[in-house]
């Protein structure tokens, strides 16, 4: 009954949502039956529905060998990416918005998003040009200054820093666009009023800009928490050249799954990995969303 009532009252809204809902069903929910692959030993003859069930067998390899190390790496890198990424992107957006020259601000923006458009293969190649043992620019400099060259791709000490640097180098400019657009959406009336009250620029940022950014910051954080068990494959696989000697600090869930399954092409085990990663993210998001709801109802995701 409520449904019919709603339909009459908000008919237009249903129509507006319809195209999106159709797309969701066709491209997301219809293939969703495939999650059962995670519990099956898939063979093409019996098909997805007919293949034999194997319980949780497909998940076992995710908890074997270096599982603990891999999970730790994935989590720690993502935490750094989320927290520092947030601070950097927001700071960059505010700075770009506040500096006095419009022209320079636009120029900086354009340049800072450039690295985002390079594929990981090209990024890997570029950093290889700097770090390679025989011909790398860094090592040429080191030996020119009389230091011992460093074989970066077999020495894991530097890689946590290198990976974090590469990640932010590639993405921070692009990610700051969301906050930049958000900052520009804040009504100028607020600032005008604050100026009249005699607030200086720092106070304006502290008391107007940041509070106005709060909803988008919360949403962005919730969304990235959902992906906390996923790692950027290109960053950890290609930029490191999948170099074995670096594994203790570079191996993450996604590279582990890839290295383990690439020769076998086991669809069940691939599905299991995805389900595991999603499930953990899902639980964390529900939890975060629940907390956010308690504090600030309007900022919650759903």
């Amino acid at each position: 009954m409520t449904f019919l009532y709603e339909l009459r009252k908000h008919g237009a809204l249903f129509v507006m949502a319809l195209p999106a809902l159709i797309l969701l069903v066709l491209f997301n929910y219809m293939p969703m039956f495939g999650v059962i692959l995670a519990f099956k030993n898939y063979n093409f003859y019996d098909g997805i529905l007919g293949s034999p069930w194997v319980g949780f067998d497909n998940f076992k390899y995710l908890f074997k060998g270096d599982a603990w190390l891999i999970t730790r790496n994935t989590l720690l890198y993502n935490l750094v990416f989320i927290v520092i990424g947030l601070i950097l992107s927001v700071a960059l957006a505010i700075i770009l918005d506040e500096i006095r020259s419009r022209f320079l601000s636009k120029t900086y923006q354009t340049i800072l998003i450039m690295p985002y458009f390079l594929s990981w293969t090209i990024v890997a190649l570029i950093f290889y040009a700097f770090l390679s043992a025989d011909k790398g620019i860094v090592n040429q400099l080191l030996s020119y200054m009389g230091f011992h060259p460093i074989n970066f791709y077999t020495d894991m000490t530097y890689w946590p820093y290198i990976l974090i640097f590469v990640f932010f180098w590639k993405s921070v400019g692009y990610n700051s666009i969301i906050y930049l657009a958000s900052v520009t959406g804040i009504s100028p009336d607020y600032y005008e009023a604050a100026t009249i009250d005699g607030a200086n620029k720092w106070q304006q940022i502290r008391y107007i800009t940041l509070p106005c950014l709060r909803p988008i910051i919360i949403i962005m954080t919730i969304l990235s928490i959902g992906k906390i068990f996923y790692a950027d494959f290109g960053l950890f696989y290609q930029v490191t050249y999948n170099s074995g000697a670096l594994y203790p600090v570079t191996q993450v869930i996604d590279t582990y799954v890839y290295n383990g399954l690439v020769t076998m092409g086991n669809y069940g085990m691939t599905a299991a990995a995805g389900l595991y990663q999603s499930f953990v993210g899902f639980v964390l998001v529900i939890l975060t969303n629940w907390i956010v709801k308690k504090v600030d109802r309007d900022s919650a995701l759903f």
Partner: protein
């Protein structure tokens, strides 16, 4: 609150129902073969996915091929050529989702044969071959058929090219002569050390060896899983390394031989004989003449081709004898997927492809007169007006089209090209386990974990970029943690069973 949860359930249920219903419409595709094979053949179109470079003149040549095929078996063929990751992405997914196709390329290195067989992707071929592929069956030697056999059934027609594999070293001829190196004295990888030393001392600007990794493959074994990196091998032939009982499968990484190899590789790397970079790309340095030697998997007539390509003469030396193991046979082949509606006609087509020189050479070289002209029985040259460096249609050596013994060769190939294949085959020792195919299903968990250990330790160890004193014990320990013992014992029990079946039949 109640309303709310109701609505939730309702919408979820609707969506799930929709998904199941709609996807059920698509999933299954029964391979009901409705071909009336007696008397007149109904016209059909065969879809053929092959691993090959797409050619500009493909459409033109296909017209000629189809005209010919129409007369022979009243079929036309739609060939889709792809390579690299394009093939690797598309074809396995098409097979997994049951897209209609009649012939598909499968091998040990892309679109994996064994893994497809275990997922029941292919139609069994024995009975089809008895009916429609008698000539094909006779053309290909037994060794090859044996290698394709999984649980007494054949699922793919093997590519008939060089049989087995040999590892050797390719060296710059001018330097070999200049430093008076006796290439005949090289019997195994160990004999390379003094040579590399000489080269390094006499000319430090030259890289003595483009990598030690390939040399490890010169130790003759059969890799029981078919994957050359996975632990579990047996000894092949009467040779100085890895001499063990032929029956016992062992972890090659735990042997003193492997230890010796990685220690040597490390020594070479420290001495500067091999590159220090993880991803060293040798091709540019070869072209620039900055490399002395490299190891490779040899194929007949290769040295000649490579010299021509680089523009300077090379000498080749085998490292010990070659081997014929199961995975060599699976270097390439054609399977008929379950989704094929016309498996009979597909088999007739394969039969022709392997035995009819006219058809095969159209696939390899195009149309006679337009793309090539014949010089004699076996040799050809490009037709008038064809740019040999950028031809409209030509696969050169063309192994991806089946049977190299019925192909024509460009006149620049050595006169004994075909004999070379025979010599090569005769020089290789067949493995006692040739034809044994390991079923990985019971140990998939272990293999996934072991693959990770391998990719962590194997490349740096055999390349000599890490110290084996520290890394080799870790490697062995981690293999144990990942379940290598379970893998080996599963292999052993499957192998024992296979052997008892062999003696029975």
């Amino acid at each position: 609150m109640l309303h709310k949860s109701k609505a939730w359930c309702l919408s979820l249920a609707v969506i799930l129902l929709l998904s199941v219903v709609l996807s059920a419409c698509g999933g299954s595709s029964d391979s009901s073969s409705a071909t009336g094979a007696n008397g007149e053949l109904a016209p059909v179109e065969l879809v053929f996915y092959n691993y090959a470079t797409p050619m500009k003149g493909q459409e033109r040549v296909m017209q000629a091929i189809n005209k010919y095929l129409k007369e022979k078996i009243n079929a036309t063929v739609k060939v889709v050529t792809m390579e690299g990751s394009d093939f690797e992405t598309k074809v396995p997914v098409m097979l997994a989702s049951g897209q209609p196709m009649d012939i598909v390329f499968t091998s040990s290195w892309t679109n994996n044969y064994l893994s497809n067989v275990s997922k029941q992707a292919f139609t069994p071929l024995s009975s089809l071959m008895d009916k429609y592929g008698q000539d094909l069956k006779k053309t290909i030697p037994d060794t090859l058929w044996k290698g394709m056999t999984v649980k007494n059934e054949i699922y793919a027609v093997p590519s008939y090219k060089e049989v087995g594999h040999q590892v050797g070293v390719l060296m710059r001829k001018d330097m070999v002569e200049k430093y008076k190196i006796d290439t005949n004295s090289i019997k195994s990888w160990k004999d390379m050390e003094p040579i590399l030393k000489t080269v390094h001392e006499k000319d430090p600007s030259i890289l003595p060896l483009d990598g030690s990794e390939g040399m490890y493959r010169s130790i003759p074994v059969q890799h029981m899983s078919g994957d050359w990196n996975l632990p579990g091998v047996i000894n092949v032939g009467d040779q100085p390394y890895y001499k063990r009982s032929d029956d016992k499968i062992f972890d090659q990484y735990e042997t003193p031989e492997f230890k010796e190899f990685v220690e040597t590789a490390y020594r070479w790397n420290q001495a500067g004989y091999t590159p220090k970079d993880v991803e060293y790309q040798s091709e540019g340095d070869w072209k620039a003449g900055k490399v002395f030697a490299g190891s490779l998997l040899y194929a007949p007539n290769y040295v000649y081709k490579r010299s021509a390509q680089l523009g300077y003469p090379l000498v080749y030396q085998n490292l010990g004898k070659g081997v014929i193991e199961t995975s060599d046979v699976q270097g390439g082949g054609f399977a008929i997927p379950r989704s094929s509606k016309n498996p009979e006609r597909a088999m007739m087509f394969l039969n022709l492809l392997y035995t009819d020189p006219v058809l095969a050479n159209m696939f390899v070289h195009g149309i006679e007169g337009q793309d090539y002209v014949k010089v004699d029985k076996t040799f050809i040259k490009p037709a008038e007006g064809v740019d040999p460096l950028n031809p409209d249609y030509d696969y050169g050596y063309g192994w991806m089209w089946g049977n190299v013994n019925i192909f024509y060769y460009d006149q620049s190939y050595p006169k004994d090209t075909l004999e070379q294949f025979k010599v090569f085959e005769d020089n290789n020792t067949p493995s006692p386990a040739l034809g044994f195919n390991f079923d990985t299903t019971p140990v998939q968990t272990q293999i996934a974990a072991i693959n990770n250990v391998i990719s962590q330790f194997y490349p740096p160890l055999v390349r000599g970029t890490v110290n084996p004193d520290q890394y080799l014990p870790m490697f062995i320990q981690k293999l144990k943690d990942a379940g290598v013992d379970e893998l080996i014992s599963e292999m052993q029990s499957q192998y024992d069973q296979w052997k008892s079946e062999q003696t029975k039949s």
